[in-house]
């Protein structure tokens, strides 16, 4: 065997490969992490990176040694856990489970302090947002990176109408949803003819445009100072003021969202969305009006952000463009992706995790976005269907491979 061939063979063996990989990542992080004035030039940090990469690759190797490539093994493991969960749920009778979940959502906060209730309210806002985005990304397969713009539309609708016109929360709530939906459709129209990846960047631009406009249009939005003194929601002469009252308000909104999104998912429109997501051409051939279906996804997805925005403005009584940055969009997207695109329980889990975990690990707050970014890549590579796969996705993205049923059929046609 010639020397070069031999060296390649050595690299392909697992352990030298892991060592080389970890050294490579250490080398890449070296110039960014070293410090000339620190003792040993701060070399311990890139070494830490190397060690981390080595541990991760070793773990993957251990998992994959027990059969099949690592990704597939991981898939099967997660699938088994999910399956066990599903069996349990099946045996327990779904209705009982729903009642228990609802009862605990109503009762548990009564025993918590203000801080914890506030976090739960946050969870509620994000569940609403993530479920709304799930319509666009998870069901219809359109990547929207400017979703936070609709949230801002809702919040500013209430902020402006409350402070300038004096409309009440309940009058603005449907209005905010409607306005957000209109913005969603307006944004959808120009990009409908284009492929998904253009959409991503246009929605990103749209989100930035809304934020820059809010920041600079001083005469209306008061720019970076934001809008102060937004009225709190009132109901039959009763004013919402304590955290627990807000919690129940958002809980009601969340329940409405879950109900509607679940019904939509199972409806004709929901099926049209999934069909379109999997194959636009085939969907169109089956008589789905792509234009209408996409606009519906945009409009109905944006509505929930509008509602969440109105609630947010009503709760905080102060809003400024700072709350509606691109990162907010990313975090909401992350919830959908981690939880499981298209799966309602998955998205709820994703939202809970991404709100509660950072609160629990405040000392690592700086590393939060680093973790989110890394998690998005890892999830896409190892488990694209998310923690809880939607039932349709489970079939399409199951352990057999990542191809959808349609493309699998095409492959079998071609080969056989």
């Amino acid at each position: 065997m010639p020397a070069s061939r031999r060296s390649i063979a050595i690299i392909q063996r697992p352990f030298p490969r892991i060592i080389l990989t970890s050294l490579w990542f250490g080398l890449l992080s070296l110039p960014l992490m070293m410090e000339l004035k620190a003792p040993f030039f701060g070399l311990e940090r890139p070494l830490l990176v190397s060690a981390g990469v080595a541990v991760a690759s070793l773990l993957r190797l251990v998992v994959s040694q027990r059969g099949g490539p690592g990704a597939e093994r991981f898939q099967r493991l997660m699938g088994a856990i999910g399956g066990a969960g599903r069996d349990l749920v099946g045996q327990m009778n779904r209705r009982v489970l729903y009642v228990v979940a609802l009862a605990s959502a109503v009762v548990i906060p009564l025993g918590l302090n203000r801080y914890h209730i506030d976090i739960l309210t946050q969870v509620g806002i994000y569940v609403t947002l993530a479920l709304g985005l799930n319509i666009v990304v998870g069901l219809a397969g359109l990547l929207d990176l400017g979703y936070v713009a609709f949230y801002a539309v809702g919040a500013y609708t209430y902020g402006l109408l409350s402070t300038r016109v004096g409309l009440s929360f309940w009058e603005v709530l449907p209005l905010g949803g409607l306005l957000a939906a209109i913005f969603g459709v307006l944004l959808g129209i120009p990009v409908l003819r284009l492929r998904g990846d253009y959409l991503a960047i246009v929605t990103l631009g749209f989100g930035e445009m809304i934020r820059i406009t809010l920041n600079n249009w001083d005469s209306v939005t008061r720019g970076p100072n934001g809008i102060l003194g937004i009225a709190r929601p009132k109901m039959l002469g009763f004013i919402f003021s304590t955290p627990i009252q807000y919690y129940y308000l958002i809980l009601a909104i969340v329940l409405l969202t879950i109900f509607v999104v679940d019904r939509l998912n199972r409806s004709r429109i929901g099926r049209a969305w999934t069909a379109m997501r999997d194959d636009e051409v085939a969907a169109e051939a089956m008589g789905i009006n792509l234009m209408r279906t996409k606009l519906l996804a945009f409009g109905l997805g944006a509505t929930w952000a509008g509602f969440a925005g109105v609630f947010f403005a009503g709760k905080m009584t102060f809003i400024s463009p700072e709350s509606f940055t691109f990162f907010e969009s990313v975090i909401i997207l992350c919830m959908v992706v981690l939880g499981g695109m298209g799966s309602v329980p998955g998205v709820i889990l994703g939202a809970c995790m991404l709100v509660i975990l950072p609160e629990m690990m405040r000392q690592f707050a700086l590393y939060r976005m680093l973790f989110f970014g890394g998690a998005m890549v890892v999830m896409m590579v190892l488990r694209p269907q998310g923690l809880i796969a939607s039932s349709r996705r489970r079939i399409a993205l199951g352990p057999k491979g990542r191809q959808g049923p349609a493309s699998a059929a095409v492959t079998s046609l071609q080969t056989g």
Binding site: L36, G205, M380, R402
Partner: protein
């Protein structure tokens, strides 16, 4: 005033063009919008500063010599090239047969990861770039063109001509064009598609690195967030010229720079960043294939 705005616009435009080339090449070959490309540009700028401080702290070269500058460029190019190739290996290659959404989300993840990695490793504050160009520039009626502006434009032109030569008259260039047309056919005629894709990322990242170092010197300040806006603008430039089309990206970059320069000068500089988005949306509505591109809207 007009002439000055044109010069500023062209300078900025040639930088956008360099970054846009990376987007357009990657899109041409694997049809992925590489969101993390802007971050590679940002890494290039950081590597410029890091290698500069390394060289001057250890007194290896004098701060104003040409050698310092050359080393800065080379280090940035090598580092960003390595990052680009690694990024493709880790985050995009495993997803090549996945649904269209997966690599996009993965790319977004890489972008956020790199941004925050640099923020944590280098600190969130602005970093000052050394002033290496002391040249006076040329004054003429109506404006002046500074030495660094001449340098940026000249370097960009050289890079673009070099890229054209590489793509059209070398073997690897031929392989790249073949892979862009049809990956399966290309691999059937013996082209190592994986290698071609790696080389594409390498070249795109190297161009972004050069752009990063030059912009750092032009503005004098960089931070971990510069890749985000620059990335969107370069992407707009790529779309304007017709994505997947190399001369298109150059044209698009220059045009975008000019429009932005004039817009900032005559309309409002507060909304400077909005122009790029507005152009993007207009192009997508009226001519989605871009100025020089083929029709892509209905491709299956």
């Amino acid at each position: 005033m007009l002439v000055q705005q044109l010069i500023n616009g062209l300078t900025l435009g040639s930088v956008y063009a360099l970054i846009a080339l990376g987007y357009t090449m990657v899109y041409g070959i694997i049809e992925l919008i590489n969101f993390a490309h802007g971050e590679i540009y940002m890494l290039g700028a950081y590597m410029g500063i890091i290698s500069f401080s390394f060289l001057t702290t250890l007194h290896l070269t004098s701060p104003t010599s040409g050698a310092t500058f050359l080393i800065m460029m080379i280090v940035a190019v090598l580092f960003c090239g390595a990052c680009g190739v690694t990024m493709e290996r880790v985050a995009y290659r495993p997803l090549r047969s996945a649904s269209r959404l997966s690599p996009l989300i993965s790319a977004l993840g890489v972008s956020i990861f790199l941004q925050n990695f640099v923020m944590l490793a280098q600190g969130p504050r602005d970093k000052g770039f050394p002033h290496l160009f002391s040249g006076e520039g040329i004054d003429f009626p109506g404006g002046r063109i500074s030495a660094i502006q001449i340098f940026i434009m000249a370097t960009s032109v050289i890079m673009m001509v070099g890229l054209q030569l590489l793509v059209h008259s070398t073997t690897i260039g031929k392989a790249m064009r073949a892979t862009a047309q049809d990956k399966q056919m290309a691999s059937l005629v013996g082209i190592d598609v994986d290698r071609v894709i790696s080389v594409t990322f390498l070249i795109g990242s190297a161009l972004a690195a050069v752009a990063g170092v030059m912009v750092g010197m032009y503005y004098g300040l960089i931070n971990f967030f510069i890749g985000y806006i620059a990335g969107i603008k370069a992407f707009t430039a790529a779309v304007l010229g017709g994505i997947g089309n190399i001369p298109g990206a150059m044209l698009g970059g220059l045009l975008l720079g000019l429009i932005e320069g004039l817009g900032a000068g005559y309309i409002s500089s507060e909304y400077k960043d909005v122009f790029a988005f507005a152009i993007l949306v207009m192009v997508l509505i009226f001519r989605p294939s871009g100025l020089l591109g083929k029709d892509i809207s209905g491709r299956v």
